[in-house]
């Protein structure tokens, strides 16, 4: 109880941080965005952070993180190239929460296909203004989590709008990087993507942290996918060993749309991924795929997915696989709800974990709540280690144990990448993965 009180007391620091932040914001104090930010911070201070009694946070303890006194990162950005660019992609780069124009290809976007701008600019743009404002207000009011509110309050924010019946030929590569040498910095990102009807887009997010310094990064995505549109989002993160990342994605899908999410988590001290998919129409497909390698000394990764089947004739697929070593811990909590009268649903979920050390652990909680009868839902979970026989087989073929292990581990994870359509992205992720095995 005392700990919870301390944390809740510590929430007040965000009001002080916000006042500091507000002083730096020139010229937007009259904007509705500023009002929403003010509300978000107030809302956060009132609401506080979830404790361990909260079932969704049962296996992830925030006490240590929330005891921290946070500060803003330095304003300057290094301007260096922060991540290896994805071939044939259009770049957008953020450093310490701010858009770095020099590292972004904003001029390469064709405004008749896609609009990319900061939230501030979007609110000045007559065509998107109303929609963006509506979504921001929704976020503040619904405010899925305390961390979503943090993003809303402190992020500069990015808006991407894909125009009707457009098929973007190149993926959009967004990089979120933290740099500098200060301790306990708080960086927040907000990304609103609206895909209009009949369009198709791919977004690739790279998250890169600074080494040896503790910090918290909150990323809040909101994806609004209109009728028959198709959005794929790929994410890989390589946070520093003292880095904390709370990554939240809210997906609203309309009739006939498809959303695919694929993540590769490699770094971080405490990483939490929240994915919430809500179906607003029929014939919707949601695919959530995740992979991770926790090879650090003591990492904590929590994957949380929630698919809300509120409408009939939809399907969802989930596949999560990961490797856990040393003192690290992985958590999977996959929730699927099929609401009353949402008939003809197919929902599949699978998660598998490979434990490499005596101190590694995994907590898995697949969860089905079904209120309709004409459905096919299933989930499976397996936890184990590499098959000794498979290892032996490879070794009889002349491979060293180390090589054989690596090969099997790589194959284990790559089952997830097999779901990728885009070769470039698969190759990029495989490169990243191989350095961690």
């Amino acid at each position: 109880m005392a700990v919870q009180e301390l944390i809740n007391k510590n929430v007040d620091q965000f009001q002080a941080l916000f006042d500091l932040y507000a002083n730096r914001l020139n010229g937007i104090k009259d904007s509705p965005y500023f009002r929403i930010k003010q509300d978000a911070v107030r809302h956060l201070v009132r609401k506080g952070f979830p404790g361990r009694k909260n079932e969704d946070w049962k296996y992830t303890n925030l006490t240590q993180l929330l005891k921290t006194r946070f500060q803003h990162p330095a304003r300057q950005v290094s301007g260096d190239q922060l991540s290896q660019p994805l071939p044939n992609s259009v770049r957008i780069s953020f450093e310490n929460g701010l858009l770095v124009k020099e590292q972004s290809d904003l001029d390469k976007f064709d405004a008749s296909e896609v609009e990319v701008m900061t939230v501030e600019d979007a609110l000045k743009n007559a065509t998107v203004k109303d929609k963006v404002l509506l979504e921001l207000e929704n976020m503040e009011q619904v405010g899925v989590s305390a961390f979503g509110l943090l993003s809303l309050a402190f992020a500069q924010g990015l808006v991407i709008q894909v125009k009707k019946n457009t098929r973007l030929s190149n993926p959009i590569h967004i990089t979120y990087a933290s740099s500098g040498s200060e301790k306990n910095t708080l960086t927040s990102q907000l990304c609103l993507v609206m895909v209009e009807s009949g369009s198709k887009a791919e977004i690739f997010q790279s998250i890169i942290g600074k080494k040896d310094q503790s910090y918290l990064q909150t990323i809040y995505n909101r994806f609004v996918i209109a009728e028959n549109a198709n959005l794929s989002v790929y994410k890989w993160q390589e946070e520093g060993d003292q880095g904390n990342l709370i990554y939240t994605t809210e997906i609203n899908q309309a009739h006939g749309s498809t959303y695919t999410d694929l993540s590769l988590d490699l770094g971080g001290k405490l990483v939490r991924n929240n994915l919430y998919a809500t179906h607003l129409g029929q014939n919707i497909t949601t695919n959530l795929y995740g992979s991770f390698v926790l090879s650090g000394q003591k990492q904590h990764l929590d994957n949380q997915t929630f698919v809300d089947h509120a409408q009939p004739h939809c399907q969802s697929n989930e596949l999560y696989k990961g490797i856990i070593d040393h003192y690290s811990k992985a958590v999977f909590n996959g929730k699927i709800i099929v609401r009353p009268d949402a008939q003809k649903i197919n929902a599949f979920q699978q998660n598998a974990g490979l434990l490499l050390s005596d101190h590694a652990s995994i907590d898995s909680k697949p969860q089905l709540e079904i209120f309709a009868d004409d459905v096919r839902c299933s989930h499976g979970a397996t936890i184990g280690q590499l098959d000794e026989q498979a290892l032996y087989y490879l070794m009889t073929r002349g491979l060293e144990r180390k090589q054989a292990t690596k090969m099997l581990q790589s194959a284990f994870i790559q089952e997830v990448f097999a779901e990728l359509e885009e070769d470039n992205i698969a190759r990029y992720l495989q490169d990243k993965l191989s350095t961690y095995l």
Binding site: P340, D341, Q343, G353, L355, L356, S357, D358, H359, A360, S361, I362, D363, S364, K365, P366, Q367, L368, E369, I370, F371, A372, D373, D374, V375, R376, C377, S378, H379, G380, A381, T382, I383, G384, Q385
Partner: protein, 492 residues
């Protein structure tokens, strides 16, 4: 006490009602209540607990145990998982915590009061006689007071102790003292604390070293009096290399108000011992509008204390308005085995929240979980289970399978499995499916000349077969019939 005319009429009415509702719930009668020798005031106070203990002429340590438990009960908050809106309706002050049906446990069948014998007859316990023929020893518990134990003599020749809990407290205090609360301490949870404070009777069973119990042991539970709670306690101790199979059955009369049942079952298995515990739970589930029915909150736990010991739980849950029940195994001994086979059927407004906990502590421990849920009407059926593999549980192995079958579009089926694995050598598999009966399967059966109802029965029986196979013969037959009655008319 003279039975006046009104009561006779009342009784006749009950029997008539019974005939009408035979199909719905055939155990829905109740006996005249004023023949009870003692009925405590409503509500739970220290005074009541002292009174229970005094009436049962219990030793000091037993009273101590009860009072400590009462203290914990009063401090603990009501649990909040599951659907709590119903729970808040339970008025713990409005329950008779102790009812005694007759002065003494009947030593001989002829000594048992006539109306109790009638109860048994209505229950089909000539059950008792039938089982005597079949060689099953029965301990019958009405309103948590043990009324009859059969076959005691034959069992005692083998050194097996099978008697009511109160007798055990008097005759074998050293065993009770040693094992009571050793698996489910009174601090364990809200309902275990309640039970520990007020439990009135139950069964005690002790199988000595190397003995294989030659017959099935059985307890039969029944709630009779209105506004009472049933709080019984079962304790089974299996010494080294012993084997026992234990059956439990339950029914309750039909009442408009909800009745509370909070039992505790503890099992201790030593080296190489094997305990099989089977339950057919058929408490009154409430009527079609969801009125009445038993709230069934049971704590069942087995401790595999010895090397290579084994505890196997099998349950068929068809009754109760709300069930919360998680028969668990603590696999402490190296090489110990835990099993859980369950069928839970819910219809109308029933809610069943059941599952198991398999706690792997020793090396080379294994557990199997097979859970089959069937929901119909407007009912909800949940599987809630935990598989935990501790740091030192090398080579632990678990397989879990939870399937749910939905009949009708107003019901729900939910799965909440928790897997907590802390050892790399563990191998854990979990799978769950939810679906309805396949149209093609139905079509196939009907095409072969079966009616829709029969086809469904056939398919459901096949679906549950894995669990039925685990039940002792006489229970398996009863369970299949129960299943058919519970689901009658639920498909259309």
């Amino acid at each position: 006490m003279a039975v006046n005319l009104d009561q006779k009429l009342e009784k006749q009415k009950t029997i008539d009602q019974l005939k009408d509702i035979e199909q719905d719930y055939k155990y829905g009668f109740h006996d005249p209540e004023d023949e009870y020798a003692f009925k405590s005031e409503k509500g739970l106070t220290e005074e009541i607990v002292r009174k229970i203990s005094e009436m049962k002429e219990e030793p000091e340590w037993m009273l101590d145990f009860r009072l400590k438990a009462l203290d914990i009960f009063q401090k603990k908050p009501m649990p909040t998982w599951g659907n709590t809106e119903y729970l808040n309706q339970i008025d713990f002050a409005n329950i008779h915590y102790f009812v005694r049906s007759s002065e003494k446990q009947g030593r001989d069948w002829d000594e048992v009061p006539t109306y109790i014998r009638e109860t048994f007859d209505k229950l089909g316990i000539s059950l008792l006689e039938q089982k005597r023929m079949m060689g099953v020893a029965v301990d019958a518990v009405i309103d948590s007071v043990s009324v009859k134990t059969t076959f005691k003599k034959q069992l005692s020749e083998l050194g097996i102790i099978f008697c009511s809990f109160s007798e055990a407290v008097q005759d074998h205090p050293e065993l009770i003292k040693k094992y009571l609360g050793s698996v489910v301490p009174y601090t364990d949870n809200f309902f275990a604390a309640l039970n520990s404070a007020v439990f009135s009777d139950g069964s005690f069973c002790y199988i000595p070293k190397g003995v294989k119990c030659p017959m099935e042991l059985s307890t039969y539970f029944r709630i009779n009096t209105a506004g009472t709670g049933q709080f019984e306690r079962t304790l089974i101790v299996a010494e080294e290399k012993s084997t026992v199979s234990y059956l439990e059955g339950c029914t309750a009369p039909m009442r408009d108000e909800n009745q509370l049942h909070a039992a505790v079952v503890e099992i201790v298995a030593m080296d190489d011992a094997f305990v099989k515990y089977s339950t057919v739970q058929n408490w009154y589930p409430g009527n079609k509008e969801g009125k009445g029915g038993v709230y069934n909150f049971v704590t069942k736990r087995g401790m595999c204390r010895g090397v290579n010991s084994k505890i196997s739980w099998t349950q068929v849950e068809t009754g109760s308005a709300i069930t919360w029940k998680y028969p668990s195994c603590i696999l402490k001994g190296d090489g110990s085995v835990g099993e859980f086979y369950s069928i839970a059927v819910t219809n109308n407004f029933q809610q069943a929240d059941t599952g198991t906990k398999m706690i792997h502590i020793g090396k080379n421990t294994r557990s199997t979980i097979i859970s089959k849920g069937i929901s119909a009407g407007k009912s909800h059926n949940s599987y809630r289970g935990l598989v935990k593999v501790g740091k030192k549980a090398e080579n632990a192995r678990n397989f879990s399978q939870c399937d749910s079958l939905l009949m009708g579009d107003k019901c729900g089926a939910h799965t909440f499995p928790y897997l907590e694995i802390e050892n790399k050598s563990a191998q854990v598999e979990h799978e769950a499916t939810t679906s309805k009966i396949g149209e093609d399967q139905l079509y196939y059966c009907q095409q072969r000349g079966l009616s829709e109802e029969d086809a469904i029965n056939l398919i459901v029986n096949g679906y549950c077969k894995e669990v039925f196979n685990e039940l002792p013969m006489e229970f398996a037959v009863e369970a299949q019939k129960l299943l058919a009655v519970s689901l009658e008319g639920s498909v259309g």
